[in-house]
């Protein structure tokens, strides 16, 4: 990883260097170009190949479970957008390495380097075992819907600790379903457009003080399972809605499988996905 010697005197951007982890993932790809407008240097990392590296970018392929590599990755960074790690249900071993050990490495290094803020991709699966007939405030009790969700709860409590202990600020984005368009009827509720996602990251980076904040990453969809009132200090006002996609999922009479948990809980199919057996032997 090379430190770009950007001529700071010419730069007018608010941040000198932002780090984006998980830059090769679905959302990372969306966000990566947007960061250029906010920082002189954008450092991108992933465990997967990062593609072409722009002039304003620094790229590093890093396994988050590698403490030394993460320590190097965080050096000289003003703020982090941490999308890295596993974002679906997976065997515990994998989640442990990427989302638990990996997250600790990120926070531990950030604190040592004096990084001031992390925007953390949490997930609605941290609260996915709440029923679909409830509307969750940002202070809803944690009710993860799988080991992936449990790891996101770990991230929310770990980051709370780093804020209480060191003043390292975090915005936990409980991201819903951020794709080109909803893939199921359930995603009409959890849909987050790419544009709104980027705006939510912008709000999270630029709000002057965020403390340790939790906010749901959803667009202004007609049906809502969440309520961001208590996160209004972030200034996030979604511009999009899943209404344009409702025709893709024509109305039907309510499901009558009353014992199907995937219909009863906000996490949908995730609530049955875990815990997964390891693909390799546990040590």
């Amino acid at each position: 990883m090379t430190d770009l010697n950007v001529d700071r005197s010419a730069a007018k951007k608010p941040f000198r260097r932002l780090l984006l982890t998980g830059a090769a993932g679905n959302l990372g790809k969306q966000l990566r170009p947007a960061l250029a407008q906010w920082a002189d240097i954008v450092r991108v990392s992933d465990i997967a190949p990062l593609g072409e590296v722009a002039a304003h970018e620094e790229a590093a392929v890093v396994d988050l479970a590698d403490a030394a590599a993460v320590h190097a990755l965080l050096e000289g960074v003003d703020a982090v957008v941490h999308l890295g790690g596993i974002s679906v249900e997976a065997p515990f071993e994998d989640i442990l390495e990427a989302n638990i050990r990996g997250l600790y490495n990120v926070y531990s290094s950030a604190q040592k380097h004096g990084v001031k803020r992390i925007v953390y991709a949490s997930s609605n699966h941290a609260v996915g075992f709440h029923p679909v007939t409830s509307v969750l405030g940002t202070d809803a009790p944690l009710r993860p819907d799988g080991m992936y969700g449990v790891s996101k709860c770990f991230g929310e409590t770990l980051s709370r600790y780093y804020f209480d202990r060191f003043g390292l600020e975090t915005v936990c984005l409980r991201i819903g379903s951020s794709f080109e368009q909803p893939k199921t009827a359930r995603m009409l509720v959890t849909y987050l457009s790419y544009r709104d996602f980027i705006e939510l990251v912008r709000c999270s980076l630029f709000t002057n003080r965020v403390g340790h904040a939790i906010v749901y990453g959803v667009s202004n969809n007609r049906t809502a399972w969440v309520d961001n009132t208590n996160a209004a200090f972030l200034g996030y006002r979604p511009q999009d809605s899943s209404a344009q996609f409702e025709h893709l999922f024509p109305p039907s009479a309510p499901d009558t499988r009353f014992d199907d948990p995937t219909q009863l809980y906000q996490g949908g199919p995730f609530v049955l996905a875990g815990p997964m057996e390891p693909k390799r032997e546990p040590k």
Copy 2:
């Protein structure tokens, strides 16, 4: 009552058969044609004559207090929109028969026939003795403003029981003032346009899971005494507002009759209407 032998293979509508009670009433008349788009067969009933019966309709004049007749009415029904019964303050005997015995008949029969959902016309008069200076969530304590309101509280608790006991889902619509236009200044606050009413029924029928839900039936009026945040999972977004009718009630200095309960409580004139003396002898 004749069961229409609709050719199901040709039908594309989400419901096979919907029952609408109170179909001859003010709101029933509004809703009746709309139901045709959602169900192959619309069964309509009332204690009053039902007018012309369309090809897709089954019609039955039924007294809700007649258990056997109600039992027959509910047969073969997928879901019910229950507008039937008395919708204003009335002598207790009348309310007892139509709204208490009648409602029990509807739920008892629905459960026996395996009906899955009832959309129940509750009323803001279930909470009408809350002051006009409060804003009620869907979990506000029950404070009925008359015997009519008490009967609506009965319906809300009865339906809660049927959900907890049998999984029979209900959406309780606490309907405000649904007329062509507001008739008094108070109704600028409680106004529910016909269009929004129909949309609210649509949301209540098609949301995949509703459990036992309570929602206020009001349009997006400027002044609000209620807050539907906790019912956001229904996806109800009113399109209309009473603002267009504000000119009908020119501003005046606040009322100075400080001891007039009709000015102090959300129920308005209802709060003084009950209990009414029976028109006939109590048995």
Copy 3:
């Protein structure tokens, strides 16, 4: 029913005349002698025979569904302890007559006669569908566990209305299991000793202002599903506990019938008891 011409000048008791309904029932028998210390005249009523009538007593066998008889019963009364009606799950017709029509008769008559306060025997079955792993405040949502419980919710909302409308005060006693001793392990939690029951009625009658109050009728048992903090203005401090009966129900490993609702909800066996089929034809 004869009005006793008690020499008021000699009397020192706080109330001139108290009415006790349901005086021939289990709790009525416990309370009946205690009332003598608080009132010059104790009027007792029941649908069943009332036994020997003491000198300070007036007795009347009354069917609560008989409006005229109830009207006469309430005449000249300062306050009422209303234990009358059905206190277990029963067919709807019976509950309708005794607990719904009957209760309306009591309140309607009380209001007409200017009675100032009613102590109303509600029940924990008004909230019996809350899980045994919750602790209910007096403001817990109504979740009845049967038609009996639904009728108690009716009573709580009807009495709320009479207070809001006429200032007729009511204390709703959500009585648990008041017997000589607990009959099941569950009743160790819901146990209300006779002594504590009488004390609770005393507090309910003598507290200067009660408005419309809800209080749980339980002794100071070790395990609690309810929390009376918000009713502390009544001054009820239970003296007894079910701890002395715990040896009757030796400890066992937790029940493993995970699908048995009688183990999951506070209402216990009541949650499966209703709705009962009528013993006679519905009219």
Copy 4:
């Protein structure tokens, strides 16, 4: 001060006489012409010169600390918009005279004259020591950020007393930053446009019953530290937003002075301004 002998028979305006205090201040000047549409007579007062007096106006230069003068000022008034007093941090002596003694004079006189309603200019500085990472409902605990804020808390509790004791209604407007445009980045959050301010006063005067209400005076800005849901009965719907001024305060990386209270609390610079030393000797 001369009482205008307006020909009432010709007048069609809702109020006969409104009093505006602080009419020579920033917001007073905005509001003064608007009042003409709502009242036959507008009485304006200030401690500073009031400029040209219109035909429908009565003008009086009054020191609010002068009990007799205030008593005269309140005579014959239907309602008051009380903007008078000190609206920034100031030495305690000055605040004591203008905002504490002065406010008591206003309420004491209003009650004696039978005035029915006061719209009171409270301030967000009554709750300015809440963090910028919280969103305050109208029931947030009082946490003033200076002696000015303490005096606004005094006004809110004094007016609560006059409502509970005498039924004298008050709407406390917790006004944010009402200027032509925001002067700092912080004011993008607290901005209240003049148009929205006038509309908020209109709602406060014309809502039929307000009791003792608290409402935040902010426009529909993107970032919000406050939540007016519980004041929705006032019908205030802001039309403006500070978004149009955001370009004036280009985005920057979050402030890193973590120990600067002006960045941490909603009150901003006010939190360090007090208490001020007196300009003159304390008596």
Copy 5:
């Protein structure tokens, strides 16, 4: 006032110097001797004569409205128990001088001298307009029942400010009725024994951190209008109860003066006492 030159080397008491204001009042007299066990030097003050001064005491007759005198009074003090000022309803002028200006003088001086903690005699009259049928937590909204109560609200918000701004800690004691014995039936609820009062002050002085705390000063009476759960960190466990005095107020049927506010609100007779006319001319 003479500074006692206590030989500190010999002293073992936790505080070097405590200040007690209002030392000549009812509660001041109770507390004064108790303070000797906690401080080497007890400085006592009042506007009234202070009686015999013990060897460990410093005495000063001070008008709290005299800023210079109060400034001198606070010098060299570790902590203050502030009972001074007016403790009943009184004309506004008197309350303004003693409880508003006087309190500001105390806090302003305390902050300048670096005093770390003040135990402030607030009052249940800061919340006396809550109904007798409610049970108030320490976070209940302020609802004063007179100008005396308003001044106590002023004290609670002023002290909140001094804590938020300067870290000067305060425990606000909402003292009920602290006399030898209850004088009315109402005082059975608000009774605070002298012993419990002293214990409450002890807890307030010695708890390591109190921040800005509010606690109700009542004994463990049977009937309670308040709930100190949220102040449990103070360790206050009342030892006494008004039960021993209940025989003084024999039970009676509930009061029937339904329009008598002194029976409806916790403040009792205070709710009608204010505002009082001045005994002398307002300046």
Copy 6:
């Protein structure tokens, strides 16, 4: 590990086999003998030597991070008291293995073996960054005070998931300071006597349904930072108090190190202890 062939026909104990992990630790040693009264067979495990094994015991030295060993350990078990793992602040690697991987192993194995309940030793350090001036309910937000606390939050959310997903019940005991006697003044607040600890485990094992419960493990100390009201369904009534040890920590004036977090937060010294550097190289 040998399965004891206990003659079940002779046994009268409620459980056949209980597993106690961490049996060689401080609390494990206290609890171990007590379990004999509740189960025919007590299986004990620890990573440290387990001392003499009684006739009714099975002993196994197990590293919780060893999935296969834990799987074997959980076989044939009715319920688990899980005290194993690290119970103080430690390097992340150690916590990761013992408290995160180890806990997953316990739950994963328990679910596979059909174990019905786990009593889990959580800690007050899961909420240790709440201020000492607050009183926490069982639903207080998670605010861990170190990596140890973070691992306890992991356990609370993991066990929540296993309950929501599989019905595996857990009682999370947020144990305070359970020693022979308090070692610091702070521990007067967090003290849990051994006797009360054992009673709390008894309640947690024998309450018929616990769902996923959180309860604070403290004795009935005078000062309380926590409130177990919502866990009253467990029937835990502490018998002991730290009051007997108060003389060991003589009163002193409040600490004046206002910037010392160990004085400000409930976690005390723990809040500064983490994160610890690894004793060995991170992998």
